[in-house]
């Protein structure tokens, strides 16, 4: 499996980027971006997640199956959130309370 071993340089670069992104997300939180604050925060978190998964968890080198499993987890999380919020966000829209 030696072909899958990344260099120390790669790992260090990823590590430094991760630290930088932590700094950025903290700093950006103090800037008024309205509704975009959440979007930016989650976007940075997602980038960090991808960096950790792709490099530290070797997902770049793993099988399609493993990648599919990881994608499946997030698809299911999305399903759970989307359908529950579909209820929460449309309550009362017909103009009747509790409907």
């Amino acid at each position: 499996m030696s072909e899958n071993i990344d260099s120390v340089k790669t790992y260090t670069a990823v590590w430094l980027i991760l630290l930088a992104l932590t700094g950025i997300t903290t700093a950006v939180a103090y800037v008024d971006l309205g509704a975009f604050s959440v979007v930016i925060a989650l976007l940075i978190a997602a980038i960090k997640m991808l960096l950790v998964a792709l490099f530290f968890m070797h997902m770049r080198h793993s099988t399609r199956l493993t990648q599919l499993a990881a994608a499946g987890a997030f698809l299911w999380l999305f399903i759970m959130m989307a359908f529950t919020l579909a209820d929460v966000w449309t309550r009362g829209l017909v103009g009747t309370q509790g409907r």
């Binding site: 009747t96 309370q97 509790g98």
Partner: protein
């Protein structure tokens, strides 16, 4: 002993649901008979005659697979649309419906008429007139279920839920709690008395009157000294409540909401949830000081307050910042 096998049909919804039942049963019986008959026929016709018998495999036919996927799917879409149609009807009470408040608690139903009649585990209603129930619970979740009317609605603590029906046949019908709520869940039952309109009028006038809901609410309003701040002319530290109900209200955080029962209830129990633009969050909470019934009386009183003189019905009073352009739908319940 009498053996009834079908519930009485006594509301505007009952025939709708029954007709849907006939369709569902018809489709089901067709498929059940088909499957059972095929299994019986094949099993006997092709029974094993020798131990070394080896039938030829038969390969699937795409046309057949598509046919028996699509045709049943079409039949189920009718079920969906039909059921959805009834459900929409059940979700939209007519404007002219007579309103009754329901407070459920372990293990009784408390019902209050606008005119002030209070009932426990009994509800008298006139035939032929839509009745809208606005319900809440003081403890666990309950469910208001009248089989003869084919209606059911959960009654959830912390929010209002609504259901409605028009009784079509005078009589005495079961009221059940259908959501399990503890020890005496099966005892949380009652009766709905559907009466001819003239009988209902007689019952109303003959019954014990406690004063109308709005009158009781006014008394409560004075007892709690709400008027010290909520002055009718708008000179108090808090917004005037005159003509508030049904109007849109501009909030401090920029949202605009419609003042419905849920908003009024929330503002009494959790006053800081939604602050009216231009006012300070001064009001103390009345959680624990006012019962759910008291809240309903206060709401009725607020509803009865006419807009202040000089301001046309439903137009903008000075105290409350109304943004007519940004009328958004009612907020989600907490």
């Amino acid at each position: 002993m009498k053996l009834p096998l079908f519930p009485e049909s006594a509301s505007n919804f009952a025939p709708d649901v029954d007709h849907l039942l006939y369709y569902l049963v018809g489709v089901s019986v067709f498929f059940i008979v088909l499957i059972f008959a095929l299994i019986f026929y094949f099993a006997i016709r092709y029974r094993r005659r020798s131990d070394t018998e080896l039938p030829k495999p038969i390969h699937a036919s795409l046309a057949l697979e598509i046919a028996w996927s699509v045709i049943p799917f079409g039949l189920t879409m009718i079920m969906f649309a039909w059921g959805a149609n009834i459900f929409f009807k059940e979700s939209r009470p007519p404007e002219n419906a007579m309103q009754v408040y329901v407070v459920a608690k372990q293990w009784m139903w408390k019902l209050q008429h606008m005119e002030g009649q209070r009932e426990i585990n009994e509800l008298h209603i006139p035939v032929g007139r839509p009745v809208k129930l606005v319900m809440t619970s003081e403890d666990a979740i309950h469910s208001f279920f009248v089989p003869a009317f084919r209606t059911k609605q959960d009654v959830v603590p912390g929010r209002y839920s609504t259901t409605w029906f028009t009784a079509t046949k005078p009589g005495k019908y079961h009221l059940f709690c259908a959501e399990y709520c503890g020890t005496k869940h099966s005892g949380m039952t009652g009766w709905i008395y559907a009466m001819e309109p003239q009988d209902y009028q007689a019952w109303l006038s003959g019954g014990r009157a406690f004063g109308s809901l709005a009158e009781n609410g006014e008394k409560l309003f004075q007892d709690l000294a709400c008027g010290n701040c909520h002055k009718a002319d708008g000179s108090g530290r808090c917004p005037s409540l005159a003509g508030l109900f049904g109007r849109s209200v501009q909030l401090a955080d920029g949202r605009t909401i419609t003042a419905d029962e849920a908003y009024l209830r929330e503002s009494i129990l959790r006053p800081d949830a939604k602050i009216v633009a231009g006012f300070q969050p001064l009001m103390p909470t009345f959680q624990g000081q006012v019962t759910e019934e008291g809240v309903l009386e206060l709401i009725e009183y607020i509803k009865s307050l006419a807009p202040p003189p000089g301001v046309g019905g439903g137009t903008t009073p000075a105290e409350i910042n109304v943004n007519p352009g940004a009328a958004t739908p009612a907020p989600t319940n907490p």
